[in-house]
């Protein structure tokens, strides 16, 4: 079936394309199949876009997302959409309005922000503002956009202390991705070593390692998290907390992956082509290098992709229930924590914008992971 289908790809095209198909490696075949999956391709582009947004977060955010960059005159401010025209005419440069804040007897002595529709603030590009390090290395102070002197632009609005939600969201994507990457890497290294040893050597080593793996899998995660939160001293800096959480996520995330690597190795080891190599006098090293490792790189990539949203979700969940990163740090979980107030639901709906990004990020990972799995797994297309 599969063979017929694979060969079928070549039908009706010229000899050159056919030869290209016949000489295509597994990786090329997987890529070709992945490209045919439209959902996965859209998700992949969205993912790349979000990763770039995270990577260039400081450049894209006009203001410092920490308390240093707060806008005292625009707390809990609504999103400001740049406009090209209004009742006063058309402008080629997009603009927003300056805001004014007043408190008087007319407003029951509450701060009320009003737009001054006669005072346009035009958008400017490549403005110089707060200092940052691009990609953590290059010192810079140029930002993609800003507005004229005398006001600030908040595309996604501001929070209670006047911090720009747009900038916070971009930085939060980056934090969550970094926690996820670190966690996935830790669990991946552990899984590769433990699963690889168990699968390749088998026997009693395998039995012992399986017992350990099972023991770790039985630890319930929520009580563990709570215990860890209690353990985490309050005086820890946000960086320390950040690393601590990544390591915890990595340490509890490896058993599933280790199990899969072990199972895959066990089945692959009994394949006839591995026996054929053994009968050719190939050493264990040659077999691992030439046959076993290449046989599961595609599975590993898929597994990493699929466990990534799990990591992001765990970090978010931890932060959301207040056990992970706390508010001054920009993580998606910390931002989502702000949403859980009734006040926000009623008056400040723009707090939900980071939630949209969170959902989009997780969905993108899931769709890309699914697409890769379908492309790498030859059994997924046994339609016939």
């Amino acid at each position: 079936m599969l063979f017929g289908r694979k060969k079928a790809v070549a039908a009706g095209v010229d000899q050159k394309a056919k030869e290209a198909y016949f000489t295509a490696s597994q990786g090329q075949l997987i890529w070709a199949r992945f490209k045919g999956n439209r959902t996965a391709m859209i998700a992949a582009w969205a993912l790349v876009l979000m990763i770039l947004m995270g990577l260039f977060a400081p450049f894209l955010s006009p203001y410092d997302p920490t308390i240093a960059g707060r806008d005292e005159n625009y707390e809990n401010g609504a999103p400001q959409m740049p406009k090209f025209w209004d009742e006063n005419g058309f402008s080629l440069r997009p603009f927003i309005y300056a805001t004014e804040r007043e408190r008087s007897i007319k407003t029951n002595f509450r701060w009320v922000v009003t737009e001054n529709r006669d005072h346009r603030l035009y958008m400017r590009f490549f403005v110089e503002d707060w200092n940052y390090k691009l990609l953590g290395l290059i010192p810079a102070n140029t930002h993609l956009f800003g507005v004229d002197e005398g006001g600030k632009i908040h595309l996604f609005g501001t929070d209670a202390s006047g911090k720009d939600i747009f900038g916070r969201t971009l930085h939060a994507i980056w934090t969550s991705l970094a926690v996820g990457t670190l966690g996935v890497l830790i669990s991946f290294v552990l899984a590769l070593i433990i699963g690889g040893v168990a699968g390749y050597f088998g026997g009693w080593i395998d039995s012992v390692l399986q017992m350990i793996t099972d023991a770790i899998r039985t630890v319930p995660s929520i009580p563990l998290f709570m215990a860890l939160a209690a353990f985490m001293p309050d005086h820890w800096s946000s960086e320390t907390r950040f690393f601590f959480i990544s390591i915890i996520l990595g340490l509890i995330g490896w058993p599933t992956l280790a199990r899969r690597i072990r199972t895959h190795l066990l089945t692959e080891r009994t394949q006839e082509y591995v026996l054929a190599a053994e009968l050719s006098g190939a050493s264990a090293g040659h077999i691992i290098r030439r046959h076993l490792l290449p046989s599961f790189t595609s599975y590993i990539i898929v597994d990493l992709m699929i466990s990534f949203p799990y990591m992001v979700r765990s970090e978010t969940a931890l932060s959301f229930i207040g056990l992970g990163l706390k508010d001054p740090v920009n993580s998606l979980g910390a931002l989502m924590q702000n949403v859980s107030k009734a006040d926000v639901l009623l008056n400040y709906q723009w707090y939900f914008i980071p939630v949209i990004f969170f959902v989009a990020l997780v969905l993108a990972f899931v769709f890309v992971g699914d697409g890769l799995r379908d492309a790498a797994d030859p059994y997924s297309d046994s339609k016939k």
Binding site: F22, T23, Q271, S280
Partner: protein, 335 residues
């Protein structure tokens, strides 16, 4: 005999089953087998599933450990004791003895080009020094197996079953072996392709003077290709003779039943054959005495107690049955 390539006496292969702390038992997949494979012959090994034919073939290649008896290999250049073979000698034996698999899909790594698959034995054995030398050798062998040399850059997914089996054969041949075990090498192929691969194997045997152990469940295939046949049942060798002798007058009741069970191509020859009752017993729960007595139409009390030994009557037609002389006489009388 000086021109015996493989000689085994009382060869046994046992596997431990029921791993864990309790209930370890030994499954004897091959039990006390005597076999002589002549140099340059096409030796057929026939049996149903569970007969131990695959295990015997793999034991002779040192792919599974031999647990009892003796086995030796002697090709005129080297003499090896297969029960103790290890280290550099085992490496050398790997060059001289190769395996061709049944399933042309599983036996080829999907991640390597055909050229790399065929060249792998050369590289791991260090048979060639330079890439040019390797390529030349791969091309030579590929041409012999009638593979299109332009297709060497392709991956296995580009090939049909018959072509893949030819790639498998080329890989087995590349190290210049003297002995090849072909394990059900045509069973997975379509009928119209099967004959092609069989003819190729025969041609290789003749031209390259390679000794073949051809393992199959299909009697009509082995009858056409092999010079000598050995029949296995439940780990034992029950009969061994030159092909023609065996087909003309099978001595063991199992061999007879096996022959008559082959569906005849003649639509008017229906149901005339002698049919066996029952099925091959499980290797973990073997009957006492002759292993075939549970299904044998000629069973007597002695068969249930004593296990018959493989007899060597001197005419090259060996058989392990208590009653073979009696049955042969009776057959002659009715004929």
């Amino acid at each position: 005999m000086s021109d015996t390539l493989i000689k085994a006496r009382g060869l046994s292969v046992g596997f431990k089953i029921g791993s864990g702390l309790f209930g370890k038992s030994i499954l004897k997949a091959v039990d006390n087998v005597d076999i002589d494979i002549e140099k340059g012959s096409f030796f057929g090994l026939v049996g149903e599933s569970g007969s131990g034919k695959t295990t015997l073939g793999r034991a002779l290649l040192k792919a599974v450990p031999i647990t009892g008896g003796t086995a030796s290999y002697s090709d005129g250049e080297v003499d090896y004791d297969l029960t103790t073979l290890a280290g550099p000698e085992l490496k050398d034996y790997r060059k001289r003895a190769q395996l061709i698999f049944q399933d042309p899909y599983a036996a080829l790594s999907p991640r390597m080009t055909v050229r790399d698959i065929i060249a792998e034995p050369l590289e791991v054995m260090g048979l060639t020094k330079t890439r040019e030398e390797t390529d030349a050798r791969v091309r030579e062998i590929a041409a012999k197996c009638r593979l299109n040399l332009e297709h060497l850059r392709r991956f296995p997914h580009a090939f049909s079953g018959g072509q893949r089996q030819r790639i498998s054969i080329a890989r087995a041949l590349v190290s210049g072996p003297r002995f090849i075990v072909a394990d059900e090498s045509v069973a997975a192929l379509d009928v119209s392709i099967q004959a092609d691969v069989l003819n190729l194997l025969k041609k290789i045997q003749r031209e390259m003077k390679i000794t073949f152990l051809f393992i199959s469940h299909d009697l009509s295939v082995v009858a056409h290709t092999c010079d000598h046949l050995a029949v296995m049942y439940l780990g034992r060798l029950v009969e061994s003779a030159p092909t023609r002798t065996l087909f003309a007058a099978p001595r063991h009741p199992y061999t007879k039943a096996l022959f008559s069970a082959i569906p005849s191509l003649d639509p008017d020859d229906r149901g005339r054959a002698q049919k066996l009752e029952g099925e091959i017993p499980s290797p973990t729960n073997q009957p006492p005495g002759c292993k075939f007595h549970t299904r044998c139409p000629y069973v007597i009390d002695r068969c249930r107690k004593d296990e018959p030994k493989l007899e060597h009557p001197g005419d090259g037609h060996e058989v392990a049955c208590h009653r073979w002389r009696e049955l042969a006489d009776a057959a002659r009388a009715t004929a």
